[in-house]
Structures are given as structure tokens and as C-alpha cells.
Amino acid sequence: METGVARTLSGALAARIRAGSGVNVYACYQCKKCTTGCPVAPFADVNPAQIMRAVQLGDEARSLDSRFIWLCTGCETCTTRCPMGIDVASVMEELRILARLDDRVRKDMPFAGILDLNYRSFRRWGRLYELELVVRDLVRRPKAVPDTAKLGMRMLSRGKVRWLPATGSPRQMQRISQAADRIEGQERAEAKAAAAGTPPGAGGASTRGGAS
């Protein structure tokens, strides 16, 4: 990544992140403590500190479209260690949510597909149906069959595979998830409209107290 080149200068992305996560990304002064503790930074295209900088500049290509956000395990080390108390992991989470909303989820990052299948699965059944998730993932990524099959056989022989879905209370799940979709969808649409045209550094208004 070339350094010192600002591709864009807009506060719109930062404002959306603040609206969704409560995090003010401008509090970051690039100490890189998040990056030193990050378990997946060595395997990614950019690191957490670079993401924070990109978000400050409104650089969507280097944040929303990064490989990093689909490698982040949510281990929360960055959030725990940030000297400014920034919930860095929540920013990564927010970027995943925004990538989904804006329909720009990377197709080449398998973890993105797995999270999506997982989300659909527990919403459908009330509980996560792991076998369904794995099979649907393999249909999308036939190359993964050998690796997954090996683990699958080991799990199978130890009675750790459940063939049929365990239904919690699908109607209850449906009611809750539809209500959440409606309320969250409305709030996010409003936040996106309000964020457009925000100058950098302004940060935008926080509608949430940092819940993640």
C-alpha cells in the first residue's frame, strides 16, 4: 500500500460508522497498538491501524473493500488495548455490516459467505443448523471439499454431527428478526442519508452508545 496518498477526503463513512457503532474514529492517533496485537493482520492486505486511517479519510476502497474485514475473528484484542478506548473491533464489525448493506461484500473471501450462511441458518430454524451451513458452503466452494470432508469424518465418528435441524422456536425467531430488520433498517437508512456530505473530522452524531 502506498503511504501518504489520500484518495478521498470525506467524513461520510466515519459518520455512518459513528451512527451505527457509536465509535468516533477521529479519536485514533495511529499508535498501532491494535495492529501489534492483531492475530490476523500478518495474513491480511491491510492492518487495523490502516483501516482506522482509511476510515478517517473516507477511503472506502481500503476499508469497506479490504480483505481484512473478512479475516477479523472478533477477538477484541484491539478494543481491549486501545489507549483511546476506541472499540476498534466494533469498527470492523460495522464495516462488515456496511459492506452488506451497500452490496459490496467481497466474493473472494470465503468467511463472508460463511457468515452469511450462518446468519440465514439460525434465522430460518431458530438455532444454527451446522450441517446445512457446511453443505451450502461446499456447494459454493467445491474446492473446500477435501479439507472439510476430513474434519467432517472425524466429527461424524465422534457423534458430533447433528443430521436434522434443532428448532428452537422458529416463530419467535421470525418475529424478533423481522422486527429487528424493520427498526434497524429504518435507522440505518436515515443515518446514511444524514451522513452524506459530512466533512472529514466532523464525526457525525452518535445514535447508539457503542452497543455491538
Binding site: 455490516i97 450462518n118 472425524r154 466429527m155 452497543a211 455491538s212
Partner: protein
């Protein structure tokens, strides 16, 4: 006899059955009654928080509201570290008024917090108590060296988990000491195992797992003790692949804390789930009778 609400979560009925059965057995022996939350649903796991924040907070809040209003209980046992984290997050989220209002609209009733959420370690350490636990031990481990692996979600982020020392927690170490183990001091106790990346980025997970297990071994551990279904399966299952790349690899048994406690309390092999692990852990659970004969393990 005390009563705890019980939220098993999805993993305990599939990939981590031995956590469920061994936990149940230890609770029975320690006079804690578990009342499963009726019609419990998925906590939303890491997928909900990557798609819909409100749903991610509302799902566990809905379970907590059931515990408080329907079951009239003050605390819930959540042995899966990932579920525990989501439950604590819901308790944290309702501290914000606007979020609490949205959650109430979603779940159809107010939940303002107040239900205590206990993870696997908390149940033994706080609910049962170390003295009471020690008093019930019939088969102590007699100085077996183990590494207590906390992973990420038991302690981080501390504003959510309320962990006292997120970088170097010691409460699981205290629990294993009460059952006769000698916990080792080590560096990787709160490192990340790679979590669900094991479904797609196995190369990354293998590197992380390898580092964690190697550190435990260097510090003299004979086994690693976990309190998270995903940590356990990653550390346990990836060793077969690591071994293929490294012929000199020595297997490290990976067990749940509840299996260790259960063994010390005299729980039978079936409920302990001795045969469920990928790396053979039977010698650890048999220790010191027919156990691994290394001089380090006899240090106590």
C-alpha cells in the same frame, strides 16, 4: 441446592456434546440445579453482529428477559464462551437508553439488565466456590501440569465481559488448582485460536493453533484446558493437519474444564465424553492411574 437458568447454546448439542454432558454431571454433583430456558434460540453468534446489531443484542436480551420475568431467576449459566460474550453484550447494550428502547420494541417487553451471566469458569469459581468444589473432589489430579486456555471471549472486551484481568486472567487456574492440577504460567492463555476461520482459512488457524500449543508444551503442560467450544475444536482438530507438515509434532490433549472437574468429582467416562476428543485424552483423564509418565507431572 441452588438453581441456575441454563442456556446450552447450539454447539453444546452438536460439536461440543461432551461439554454439555460433563457440565450437567458436575452440576448434579455440586448441588446446582440447572433449569434450561424454555424454547431457547440461537444467541446470534458472530454472524448476527456482522449483519444486524440490533438483532445481535435483542436475541440474547430475549433469553435474559425469559430468565428474569418467566423463570424468576437471577443468574444464567452459559458454558459456551461465545454465547456468554453475546449475553454479556446484551446486558451492556441495555445500559444505553436508546438501544434498550429498540430492544424492547423488538422482543416485545422491556429488559433493563440485572440477570447475572455466568460462564463455565464463573460457575465453578463463583457459584459453587473453590472451597466447596475442593471438598467434593474424590479423584484429584495430584499435580498434573495443565495450561488454562481462556481464548478471547471469556475476557474481552472487559467493559462487556467485566473480566478483572483480561490480559492475564487467573480464575480458571484457581479452579484447576482446586481439583489438584498444577496450572502452568504461560504466554498464550488469551491468544486467539482463529475461531470460525477454521471453516475456510485453515492455514491461518494452523499457525495460530501451533503457536498456542507449542507455548503450552514449552511451559511444561501435559494438557490444555478450555472453556470455549470453538477453541476446543480448533486446538483439538487441527493437530492432525499440523502433524502432516511436521513429523516431530507431539500431540497435546485438549479438554474442557468441565471434563477435568467431572473427572475429579468421580463422573463416569460416558458423561465425561472421554472418546469425543480427536487427540486421545484418555491418559489425562486417567491420571495418575495409568497416566502419562513424565517426571514434570509429578512435581506436586
Amino acid at each position: 441446592m441452588s438453581t441456575l437458568a441454563y442456556y446450552p447454546g447450539c454447539s453444546l448439542h452438536t460439536t461440543a456434546k461432551e461439554l454439555d454432558s460433563s457440565f450437567d454431571a458436575t452440576m448434579e454433583r455440586l448441588d446446582v440445579e440447572l433449569a434450561e430456558i424454555p424454547g431457547w434460540q440461537c444467541c446470534g453468534n458472530s454472524a448476527a453482529r456482522s449483519a444486524n446489531r440490533l438483532l445481535a443484542a435483542a436475541l440474547p436480551a430475549n433469553e435474559l428477559a425469559k430468565v428474569k420475568d418467566d423463570m424468576k431467576l437471577e443468574a444464567v449459566a452459559v458454558p459456551c464462551a461465545a454465547c456468554f460474550n453475546r449475553f454479556q453484550n446484551a446486558n451492556h447494550a441495555v445500559g444505553d437508553e436508546a438501544t434498550a428502547t429498540d430492544i424492547a420494541r423488538v422482543i416485545g417487553r422491556p429488559y433493563e439488565g440485572g440477570v447475572k451471566v455466568l460462564n463455565l469458569v464463573d460457575v465453578y469459581h463463583d457459584q459453587v466456590g473453590l472451597e466447596a468444589l475442593e471438598a467434593r473432589v474424590v479423584k484429584p489430579f495430584r499435580g498434573l501440569k495443565v495450561a488454562c486456555y481462556y481464548g478471547c471471549l471469556l475476557t474481552r472486551p472487559p467493559k462487556v465481559t467485566l473480566a478483572e484481568d483480561p490480559e492475564y486472567p487467573v480464575h480458571m487456574d484457581a479452579v484447576v488448582r482446586a481439583i489438584g492440577c498444577a496450572p502452568v504460567e504461560w504466554d498464550s492463555k488469551t491468544d486467539c485460536c482463529g475461531a470460525a476461520l477454521s471453516l475456510c482459512e485453515q492455514g491461518v488457524v494452523d499457525k495460530l493453533v501451533r503457536k498456542i500449543i507449542t507455548n503450552a508444551r514449552e511451559r511444561g503442560a501435559e494438557a490444555i484446558v478450555c472453556a470455549c467450544p470453538l477453541c476446543q475444536i480448533n486446538l483439538d482438530s487441527r493437530q492432525a493437519e499440523i502433524k502432516k507438515a511436521d513429523g516431530a509434532w507431539v500431540d497435546m490433549p485438549i479438554l474442557f474444564l468441565s471434563q477435568m472437574v467431572g473427572r475429579a468429582l468421580g463422573v463416569g467416562e460416558k458423561q465425561l465424553g472421554v472418546t469425543k476428543t480427536m487427540v486421545d485424552a484418555s491418559s489425562v483423564l486417567a491420571w495418575p492411574d495409568g497416566g502419562v509418565a513424565t517426571p514434570q507431572g509429578l512435581s506436586r
